[in-house]
């Protein structure tokens, strides 16, 4: 029995049809081990959210997983029927979205909302639902759960709404939580509280977390394993210490280098354009984000992921192999 709770292999996701096919995710492999937090980091448009949606099979109607496999708990997600998926969503895998306002029903008391998953998935007597809801509210840090139970989403602040979403997400005690930029819209003090709640749940239940983010600070504090995504592909992966101590891909270096430090005094901030493979000793290899676009119709052919040290994978781009797209 493997230690891997979620294992994605060679996943390809495309949108559109005919001439207008757009490959959002190409040849993506990642895994989340039991009891661990894996971070999928990248900027807008890199395909990280699409990847997380495909795990729950909730891609937008014009998108589809073309090939590859997504195994969760030794079951193949891509071959599951809608009915089987309904047993998994919210029950074994739950998701926390970025936009707490859009994720809550404005016309329903939050206490009722957090028990909806329980009503559907677990055999719990109606009379007990309120007790369970109150205890969930307490778990996510509300000191007055009975008062919060009767509130509507519009009566709560952004951080409180995000905590309601967490209460909802952990209500059925899922094995995997997918958190898609759960704190992007929040202030730092609230961000800290929300991320700590997710981390606490993970430790308490020995659950796993797949964290989607663009913030390397968050990755450094909460992740065990890191996947850096660019242009629909994983460009570098490894455990969090390796990625921070020995990043190789220019894009990874750029994402780390562009965080302003609060301790050393301000040299210039670096960006992805300031790094090349040359300095890491990979001659003739180039990473050129500006040419890697559908617009210019040219991109440098990426090599497959190369294991540069045990457990540390990097995707190099070969300057000699230029492909003209469609």
């Amino acid at each position: 029995m493997s230690n891997r709770l979620l294992e994605i292999n060679n996943l390809n996701i495309a949108f559109g049809s005919g001439k207008n096919v757009f490959n959002a995710v190409t040849d993506l492999s990642l895994s989340v081990s039991k009891g661990q937090t894996a971070a999928l980091i990248g900027e807008s448009g890199s395909g990280k959210s699409v990847t997380s949606l495909s795990v729950l099979k909730i891609l937008p109607a014009n998108g589809r997983a073309e090939s590859g496999s997504i195994r969760f708990d030794d079951k193949e997600i891509l071959q599951m029927t809608e009915k089987e998926m309904q047993k998994i969503r919210g029950n074994e895998i739950s998701m926390i979205f970025q936009d707490a306002i859009a994720s809550l029903n404005p016309a329903m008391k939050v206490g009722i909302q957090i028990t909806e998953g329980l009503k559907y998935h677990k055999q719990i007597a109606k009379s007990e639902l309120r007790t369970v809801a109150l205890s969930l509210l307490e778990q996510v840090g509300f000191h007055n759960p009975a008062h919060i139970f009767d509130q509507y989403p519009s009566q709560l602040s952004g951080g409180m709404k995000q905590r309601i979403l967490i209460a909802m997400a952990i209500s059925c005690r899922p094995k995997l939580i997918i958190a898609d930029e759960p704190t992007t819209a929040l202030d730092v003090t609230i961000q800290r509280q929300v991320l700590d709640l997710i981390a606490d749940y993970k430790i308490r239940e020995d659950a796993s977390v797949l964290m989607i983010t663009h913030d390397f600070g968050v990755v450094a504090e909460y992740a065990d394993w890191v996947y850096v995504m660019f242009g629909g592909r994983i460009v570098e992966s490894g455990d969090v210490f390796t990625i921070f101590n020995n990043p190789i891909h220019p894009y990874t270096k750029g994402l780390i280098g562009c965080i302003p430090s609060m301790e050393s005094d301000s040299e210039r901030l670096k960006s992805v354009y300031d790094y090349s493979f040359e300095e890491a000793g990979y001659k003739g290899r180039k990473f050129a984000p500006e040419t890697y676009s559908m617009e210019s119709k040219v991109y440098h052919a990426p090599s497959s992921l190369i294991e540069v040290e045990p457990g540390h994978y990097v995707r190099l781009f070969d300057e000699n192999e230029v492909t003209i797209v469609g």
Binding site: E43, S44, G158, D187, V188, T189, I190, Q191, R192, Q193, H214, D215, F216, G217, V218, V219, A220, E221, Y222, V240, F241, F244, G254, L255, I256, G257, C258, I259, P260, S261, M262, E263, D265, S266, R268, L269, K270, S271, V272, Y273
Partner: protein, 309 residues
């Protein structure tokens, strides 16, 4: 010669809401020195944007006054104010909403000059091309419209527009928070270069403490409409005194996995005091809200006599 470019005294701006008066900013007293960048940090709702807009005279203040280069502009009528407007410009947060989609970039850049009736048509065009180059955009941008640009490029256009009138003072309100991190770095570098090249005085508003540290000389912390702590950058980040400042600093994720289990200050979010706090000087140009520290205790502990401001 006065070294203050802007002096703000006891500035307040209230908004009427359904539930009563909302004191967005209350009793802010602040000086901005010539040539410095003053960073303003605070969470959403702390009043930092309202402060910026009130200084710009986009809002009418309830109390207090604003002095710009020795001139009281607090209640100056709009007509009289207009010639001074070119001295202080603003860079907005959202480059998708603050630039007109119907105008070409050239028209956007030249509009402030047209309003101020400055320069001839040819000179205006020349200046626009000049600034496009300064902010790192190609000359061909002049004839394009906004939808053809990415977020980072749009913010460069926003910066160029703010500089068209050769202002002395710039308010940048969250100029990079809508941008991806790698683009953010480029825009920050550009702002910093331009600032030292043009000797601008800058009020830099952001919720991101890292970004504020990178950009600023001094940093002011706002909390629930009050100014609660003000100090030179390194002093503030090393020796925060106010419990909220401490919470804020310890909440920032540190981009170093080796240090993830280091001690963290517990997060304390104090209630809003009824009256705006008085700032007291605790040495090293460091000011902190007097409501929050027990002055006697602090004096004994630090062997200092506090001077009330």
């Amino acid at each position: 010669m006065d070294k203050h470019l802007i002096t703000i005294q006891n500035l307040s701006k209230y908004f009427m809401t359904k539930t009563g008066i909302h004191k967005a900013i209350d009793g802010i007293t602040l000086d901005i020195f010539k040539g410095e960048t003053l960073g303003i940090v605070g969470e959403s709702g702390s009043g930092k944007t309202t402060l910026g807009r009130t200084i710009m005279r986009l809002y009418e203040p309830e109390h207090g006054n604003i002095t710009f280069d020795g001139l009281d502009i607090t209640h100056m009528p709009e007509k009289k104010l207009r010639p001074y407007r070119k001295e202080f410009q603003m860079i907005f947060q959202n480059p998708y909403e603050s630039l007109s989609p119907r105008l070409t970039v050239g028209e956007i850049l030249e509009e402030p000059l047209v309003i101020q009736r400055m320069l001839s048509k040819e000179e205006r065009t020349k200046k626009a091309y000049n600034l496009l180059e300064k902010v790192g955009l190609p000359k061909t941008s002049y004839l394009k419209k906004i939808h053809e640009f990415s977020g980072g490029q749009r913010q460069r256009i926003g910066i160029a527009r703010a500089l068209m009138l050769d202002p002395k003072f710039i308010i940048a309100d969250e100029p990079v928070s809508a941008l991806d991190v790698s683009v953010q770095a480029q825009v920050l570098n550009l702002l910093k270069d331009l600032q030292s090249e043009l000797d601008l005085t800058c009020l830099f508003i952001s919720h991101d403490l890292g970004v504020v540290h990178y950009m600023s000389d001094r940093v002011a912390v706002m909390y629930l409409g009050h100014l609660i702590e003000l100090a030179p950058k390194d002093e503030l980040y090393r020796n925060p005194i106010h419990p909220y400042t401490k919470s804020l600093l310890s909440s920032i994720p540190i981009a170093d996995p080796e240090r993830r289990n280091a001690y963290r200050e517990p997060i304390i979010l104090p209630d809003k005091p009824l009256y705006p706090p008085q700032l007291i000087h605790v040495g090293s140009d460091h000011y902190v809200s007097a409501n929050m520290i027990n002055i006697k205790e602090f004096e004994i502990e630090n062997n200092r006599n506090l001077i009330r401001n």
